[in-house]
Amino acid sequence: MMGRITGISGPTVSVDMKGLKLYELVHVGNAMLTGEVVKLEEKRAIVQVYEDTRGLGPDEPVQGTGMPMTVKLGPGLLSGMFDGLQRPLYKLKDLSGPFIRPAQDVSVLDPSGQWVFHPLRKKGDEVSRNEIIGYVVENHFQHFIACPHSCGGRLAWIADGNIRIDEPVGRLEDGSEIPVYHEWSVRVPRPYVRKFSPYEPLVTGQRAIDFLFSIAKGGTAIMPGGFGTGKTILEQSIAKFADVDIVVYAGCGERGNEMAEMIEEFEHLKDPWTGSSLMERTLLVINTSNMPVAAREASIYTAVSMAEYYRDMGYHVLLLADSVSRWAEALREISSSLEEMPGEEGYPTYLSSRLSSFVERAGVVETYSGKIGSLSMVLSVSPPGGDFTEPVTQSCLRTTGTFLMLDTSLAHRRHFPAINWFQSYSLYRAGLSGYYRENVSPKWEDVQMSCRDILQKEEALREVVEIVGIEGIQDPDRLLLHAAEMIRTQFLNQNAYTDDAFSSLDKTLASIERILDFYKHAAERLKQGAAIDEILSGTSF
């Protein structure tokens, strides 16, 4: 199906063409730029182009593909680095050098790639839709291959040993083939049998998160913060240490140099849970701020589709996106070039519904293959001017479970991670308490309460100190301030560049208990008449 361009404005192109479907993928212009249909009118269609439109002119041809925008899902994705349209960046580099040129077609999965297939079913077995029939080994993972959603029946043939990615691994008696890879429309959530409430914590190794504001496997968290509050470093620390099987990191509209830093680091670091290279469990989707804006909008969908694919094999997958604000801004730019009526601060009125349907793709699920997998999300938000009342932060707050507020004043004091302990919260606390009681320590919740209590009292006392000075308050209060400071500097504060960057749950608990024990004993001694200065001088800051 062909049409021609009638108008161009920024990343949007209007086409005089009928018969297109909404969200169909199209090729635009002589250069064959990739685009997606975002609006249909009686005689024309509006296409959002994923590449630089410079040089495009009217009357150039537009070609429909009949397909929505998809990602290819199959063995060979892990350790990969892709742009927002799932084009492998290393292959792009081999093709066109250090700078990205528009309209280059490179295949995601190596078509000549050889894999060793281990069948789990045999000829003559009855297999149902989505049932796993075997696996290949990808890095150190079993990459399961399942019967497609569209067919089921008796196996007439199944491969064993060497296979190629573009050849089927099995055939049913009715003649339908079971392919190694398939394509999936990125904007459609992958189906599952049922969803459960999160019941297991996602250990991040960050004491402030694991102890006070836990994230759950299958849960979602947001971390909004102004610039310089350490969003990216915290995201990257979590990507390194989280106790999940697979990490999908979407660098959405952020800095190129930081991505370069991350790539170099991840290639050398070891996964703390398995000891193999960190890159083996990681998948990167990178669309830096100077790459085309529409591809930035698509990048988080590309990332989440790949994450869901591994979840469906029964893995615990973590999706990190840095930052959702850049995605929302891309949405706003596209919306404004479509001349849509804007909502709050120029964002389209569908911002929050789009965002919530994206966030709801997280969860612990029973997959069609009968396994339990989870997809968790940790999303950073960059509110303009550090103002949390803006629409993106507010929309995120309504849909996510853990809120980690990154505080500029803490960051200025070089308290990292700069998580504010009064404003932040976790809705998973109640659901996870059983897990902590049984698997870490029965005291977990009590210790947590005591810790919160000290921090709460400190806040109130601090106001008093500001008026009367430290000498003007009573000794027990001075001791409490001291304990609170210990909690802040020795427990909540964690340096991402030292061995302290990761703390296990047991270590976290031991570390806070040590401080609380000191406080308890010191309070005893104070009651028995010891001088406050003597007690405090025995401890170092």
């Binding site: 009217p58 960046l89 700078f99 610039f227 310089g228 830096t288 801004e329 404004s336 430290i470």
Partner: protein
């Protein structure tokens, strides 16, 4: 490729820097357009938008004197490019890349589109080579590395140009290497070549900067747009500058330092175009696409694996109303790798450079300091100085309420340290300090107040 020249006299409307022309066939987005005025001047513009046979042109010059009846436009069938040649060094151009130093235009070796192409993130090399700026608060606490973009956030009336000038004159690149016995060392590399892009510069600032640049011999290229020259040229000048910088860095292997001053004028020009197009304004009237637009400039800084050169960027942003949350510094800070924030209070105390340490930050510092880069104790000294200075600043607020007498002995020492830190470490006048001198100054301060052994 068109065979004949396409000339149109079908202008339908003119609004500020924008022209609408009807009945145009085969135009392309981004195509360069020549506009002929009734008094036979020739202006340049670019196609912004196409709707059927109507095109929207953005004119990069003063549109005064244009009319609908007699003015005409010519499509050139080219995208905007920059002429490039090694002969470009030592030259001065205006924002439209026309020489203004009295010399003829050089013969180009090649031409490249000024919008550039995004660097493939996997091709980037991690910036980690220390640049010694000679300024203690930068070298010691907010270290600059090759390939970084580090803006200076200033307020009107503060000496941002003196700070930039000090960096221009004193910067040295330290390359990490190994000595014959295999130990990691640093040795001084060559100097920078400066690409200077001035946007809306006043004559006062112009003469100051030109004086500094002339002292550098021919190790600079300048693109100058003066305060009374067309605002639209401010959108072109930085792109010309960066295209030249990328060429010198990645094709000629030079270390390039790009200075852009003042980005606030750039953003105002962007806003002017946006409002003329009747686009829906974002915060404070700035367009919604400003983040992406600024990123298309700032992200051109960097290093590339396997290539020698580098582009380091030092944009100057004047914060309107001294407000760091204003959209211009705010969006800049979200893209750049840190910021150097100047502060009015220190300036009034006579401290130069008046850098406020607390909100200043260099995100790439960790990789560029320590053994093999600067000195092994760099991280420790800088963390201690920062920590105690931050505490001292907190205590100053307390002092204002309860008075010095009400404070403990320990707190009073901290207050004295804070004053001494500003006077002795931050303040250095126009003298250049090596990073070793900087760290020694810091270490001696910490020792004097018994804050380290």
């Amino acid at each position: 490729m068109r065979l004949s020249e396409h000339r149109y006299k079908t202008i339908t409307s003119i609004a500020g820097p924008l022209l609408f022309v009807q009945g145009v066939s085969s135009a392309r987005i981004g195509e360069v357009v020549k506009i002929l005025t009734p008094d036979e001047r020739q202006l340049e513009g670019e196609i912004l938008e196409i709707r059927e046979d109507t095109i929207l042109i953005e004119v990069f010059a003063e549109t005064r004197g244009l009319d609908i009846e007699r003015s005409s436009i010519v499509l050139t069938d080219t995208l905007r490019t920059a002429s490039l040649s090694p002969d470009i060094t030592g030259r001065v151009f205006n924002g439209s890349f026309v020489p203004i130093d009295g010399l003829p235009m050089f013969i180009p070796e090649k031409k490249m589109p000024i919008s550039g192409f995004a660097i493939n993130p996997t091709a980037r090399a991690r910036p980690e080579e220390f640049i010694e700026t000679g300024i203690s608060v930068i070298d010691g606490l907010n270290t600059l590395v090759k390939g970084q973009k580090l803006p200076v956030f200033s307020c009107s009336g503060l000496p941002s140009k003196e700070v930039v000038a000090a960096i221009l004159k004193n910067s040295r690149i330290m390359n990490a290497g190994t000595d014959p016995s295999g130990n990691r060392t640093k040795r001084e590399g060559g100097g920078f070549i400066i690409v200077f892009s001035a946007l809306g510069l006043t004559f006062l600032d112009y003469s100051y900067y030109m004086h500094i640049l002339k002292e550098m011999g021919s190790r600079f290229v300048a693109f100058i747009n003066m305060a009374d020259e067309p605002a639209m040229e401010r959108l072109l000048a930085p792109r010309h500058a960066l295209t030249v910088a990328e060429y010198l860095a990645f094709e000629k292997g030079m270390d390039v330092l790009v200075i852009i001053t003042d980005m606030t004028n750039y953003c105002d020009a962007l806003r002017e175009v946006s409002t003329a197009r009747e686009e829906l304004p974002g915060r404070r009237g700035y367009p919604g696409f400003m983040y992406s637009d600024l990123a298309s400039l700032y992200e051109r800084a960097g290093r590339i694996r396997g290539l020698n050169g580098s582009v380091t960027m030092l944009p100057v942003v004047t914060m309107p109303e001294d407000d760091i949350t204003h959209p211009i510094p705010d969006l800049t800070g979200y893209i750049t790798e840190g910021q150097i924030v100047l502060c009015r209070e220190l300036h009034q105390k006579g401290i130069f450079p008046p850098v406020d340490v607390l909100p200043s930050l260099s995100r790439l510092m960790q990789r560029g300091i320590g053994e093999g880069h600067t000195r092994s104790d760099h991280r420790k000294v800088s963390n201690h100085l920062y920590k105690y200075y931050a505490r001292g600043r907190d205590l100053r607020k307390l002092e204002a309420i309860i008075g010095r007498e009400g404070m403990s002995e320990k707190d009073r020492i901290m207050l004295d340290f804070t004053d001494a830190f500003e006077r002795e470490f931050v303040h250095q006048g126009m003298t250049r300090k090596t990073v070793s001198e900087t760290l020694d100054t810091g270490l001696n301060l910490l020792k004097r107040f018994s804050l380290v052994e």
